[in-house]
């Protein structure tokens, strides 16, 4: 009888368990199906911009040099990424470009050879030679016999040829050759610097000859990569995190006592302090950032204050919880020696909560470095601003990837630093008591 009851009971439990173990995955699956429809995942295929992806990926590991010839004046200019700050001085060009009075030869390598002049010739190995005479009447291109291959896009006023070695684009006014090279261009020195293209050994010998300052300033004020500004931006971001976190801790510390049951017997005061914390946390960093940037404008101060306000709420809540968990025996012991209330707090309470508080503060310091980047992107300050600016141009992806690498390194460094400090301070504290 009891065995039968037990049996049926057990099988009932098993049935329920089995149901649950099937129900949970199917609920999750159903939710994902809903998201699939609600977020229009099937439509993603149309929205994906393959060209953008290609530019982005290519830009991360390579750069292109533009060799442009104006078909009106015959002037030839060579510029890295086509930017003014990457332009070669007149009469100077990389070794794969041979400047002539009338005709400029561009050697794209592997037999791909472009002759830029009033008449443009492009020799493509395995296909033949394309000749064009751009002028008022159009591009006037002559292609080798046979069907036009996919890599050539020809019309009356425009000819675009894409080959693995480089691209050629001809319009009535302008002929341009693009050659891709690996790496990040001009990362150390721009073209106008005398140190451009020098190897490390040559640089060291120049530095030893008393040019260290000049080398450093050419690097630091590099117009293309702006190393000095980037370093400042990183400092600003860390500063936001530092000021915000510790400022919040300083403000939340006394308020935490107000919100703790065992330190504030007065219910209304406690209630007020707790609702203040809830409000500060509930309004959220985004809204604080918006409100503060209206008053203070963009910059690191706004970011610091936004972090400070949000974290005052979080710290206040955590501190008051830590204070409520304080062991009363230690305080009693101190009281029994005739300590004043202040001494009771100093020797009975503070030593107990310091490790907990410090570890929470340092944990937040690391996470706030990330928040400071995000806030910087919203209000404009620090590395977040540089990143959004670089993304908005939609072409400086090498800079974007550089900033992303810097951000990852910065956050990891802060993580390591705060972990080290946490171990150091908390261990030191425990041995001290």
């Amino acid at each position: 009888m009891t065995t039968a009851a037990l049996h049926s009971n057990t099988s009932q439990i098993f049935k329920r368990k089995r149901l649950i173990s099937f129900a949970i995955p199917s609920v999750i699956l159903l939710y994902f199906a809903y998201i699939f429809v609600a977020f229009d995942v099937p439509g993603l295929a149309d929205r994906v911009n393959v060209n953008n992806a290609r530019t982005l990926v290519a830009d991360i590991y390579s750069y292109k040099t533009h060799v442009a010839r104006s078909n009106r004046t015959g002037e030839v200019s060579v510029a890295i990424e086509g930017e003014r700050k990457g332009e070669y001085a007149p009469g100077i060009a990389p070794d794969w470009v041979t400047l002539g009075d009338d005709v400029t030869m561009v050697d794209l390598g592997k037999g791909y050879l472009v002759t830029l002049g009033p008449e443009v010739r492009f020799n493509i190995p395995g296909y033949g030679e394309i000749v064009a005479n751009p002028g008022r009447s159009g591009v006037n291109a002559e292609l080798p016999d046979g069907p036009v291959p996919d890599f050539i896009n020809a019309s009356k006023n425009r000819l675009a040829i894409t080959t693995p070695a480089g691209r050629l684009s001809i319009t009535r006014n302008k002929t341009e050759v693009f050659k891709y090279n690996y790496g990040w261009e001009l990362f150390f020195f721009t073209l106008e610097s005398p140190y451009y293209g020098m190897g490390p050994a040559a640089l060291v010998s120049h530095a030893l000859n008393g040019e260290a300052g000049a080398i450093w300033s050419d690097f630091w004020f590099n117009k293309m990569w702006r190393h000095g500004e980037v370093a400042w931006a990183l400092v600003e971001t860390i500063l936001m995190a530092f000021l915000g976190t510790f400022g919040a801790a300083i403000i939340a510390f006394p308020l935490g006592f107000l919100a703790a049951k065992n330190f504030t017997p007065l219910g209304t005061l406690r209630f007020a302090a707790r609702r203040l914390f809830d409000f500060l946390r509930g309004v959220d960093g985004l809204v604080w950032t918006i409100v503060l940037s209206r008053a203070f404008g963009p910059g690191p101060l706004t970011g610091s204050l936004a972090i400070l306000l949000t974290d005052t709420g979080s710290f206040g809540k955590m501190f008051s919880e830590a204070l409520e968990n304080v062991d009363g025996k230690q305080i009693e012991g101190i009281t029994s020696t005739g300590a004043s209330p202040l001494q009771r707090y100093r020797y009975g309470v503070i030593p107990q909560i310091t490790p907990v508080l410090l570890s929470q503060i340092l944990y937040y310091l690391e996470s706030n470095t990330r928040s400071a980047t995000i806030i910087g992107a919203i209000t404009g300050g620090g590395i977040g601003l540089l990143l959004t600016q670089a993304i908005i141009t939609q072409k400086d992806w090498e800079e974007v990837s550089y900033y992303i690498v810097l951000i990852i390194l910065m956050v990891m460094a802060m993580d390591t630093f705060s972990g080290w400090l946490r171990r150091k301070l908390i261990q030191g504290d425990e041995s001290g008591h």
Binding site: I28, Y31, F32, I35, A38, F39, V41, L44, R47, V48, N49, N52, L56, E236, L239, F242, L243, F246, D278, G282, V283, D284, G285, L286, V287, I290, V291, L292, R294, A295, F296, G297, P298, G299, P300, L301, S304, M318, E321, N325, V356, S359, Q360, R370, S371, T373, I374, A377, I378, G381, G384, L387, T388, I391, Q394, I407, I408, V411, M412, D415
Partner: protein
């Protein structure tokens, strides 16, 4: 015996040593405190100098914008319910982004966490590299991935979802693996002895032990992700953040809609915080809230 006299001097020595120690400790603490205050002051001054508007100029006008929003909301109070309904779908989108990314991140993070826990990892050689992957995923702010993905995929909720999910994988993967380390290996060994595969050992041996802790961390992440999802909306990923940016840019005299959005956002965050805190308390019941910190 010399004990008596020695005892006397030794208490004296102990006292001297103690006071000397205390002095050095106090001195060190004072130096640290001074250093800290100097850093705070210098940091504040630097931040103030590099900001567009100064602290003391802006301080007086800090309440201007909230004042405008609140007064306009009160002025056209009768329109507020309409706005709340109007922006409710965006709110749902924001919450959906957070929920989907938390779920996705938690599921992938769970698998990865089992792969990076020593003793449970199916391929021990992968523990180190996968941990670095998790570190990198955790270190990248969501906004970075979101902005790049918006460029590739266009606006909308999917870039935000992927960005938050990636960050969640990193964060939860680490927390879950810390939880896994505390799981008892006995059930795993028992299952192994009857020939269970790795996935069977994990699903039947490890996950039931630690599921409440997983859930508790995932709920905490959900709270964080709601905020992140609102922020990403603000930079163009859809949802309530996007509407907030639009309504704010309309300028003075039209802040009543922004007020409705502020209200929606505030209520959502508070409700989700409270709900998740209640649930987490129930899951880890016994453990006090203050101690359950990652």
């Amino acid at each position: 015996m010399t004990d008596a006299s020695l005892g006397d001097t030794s208490t004296q020595t102990i006292k001297d040593v103690y006071f000397a120690q205390r002095r050095t400790k106090r001195l060190l603490n004072t130096i640290l405190l001074v250093l800290f205050i100097a850093m705070m002051v210098a940091g504040f001054r630097t931040a103030d100098a590099r900001n567009a508007g100064g602290f003391f100029d802006g301080f007086t006008s800090i309440l201007d914008f909230p004042g405008d929003v609140v007064s306009e909301a009160i002025e056209r109070f009768h329109l507020l319910p309409g706005y709340l309904i109007k922006y409710f779908p965006s709110l749902i989108e924001t919450v959906n982004i957070a929920a989907a990314s938390t779920l996705l991140g938690a599921l992938i993070g769970l698998v990865l966490s089992l792969m990076v826990t020593r003793g449970l990892a199916p391929v021990p050689a992968l523990v180190g590299p996968l941990r670095r992957v998790l570190d990198v995923l955790r270190a990248v702010p969501e906004i970075v991935i979101a902005l790049v993905l918006i460029f590739l995929l266009g606006g909308g909720p999917i870039p935000a979802m992927i960005a938050i999910a990636l960050h969640t994988i990193g964060a939860l993967g680490k927390l879950f693996s810390e939880v896994n380390e505390n799981a008892s290996l006995n059930p795993v060994e028992g299952l192994a002895s009857v020939g269970a595969s790795w996935s069977q050992r994990m699903i039947l041996g490890v996950i039931p032990q630690v599921a409440p802790n997983y859930l508790s961390y995932a709920l905490l992440r959900f709270e964080i992700n709601i905020r992140a999802s609102a922020i990403l909306g603000f930079v163009g990923a859809g949802g309530i953040g996007y509407d907030l940016r639009n309504t704010i840019s309309w300028g003075q005299g039209k802040f009543d809609e922004a007020a409705a959005i502020f209200l929606l956002l505030f209520l959502t965050i508070v409700v989700v915080d409270q709900l998740s805190s209640v649930l987490r308390n129930r899951l880890t019941h016994g453990a006090k809230i203050g101690e359950a910190h990652p």
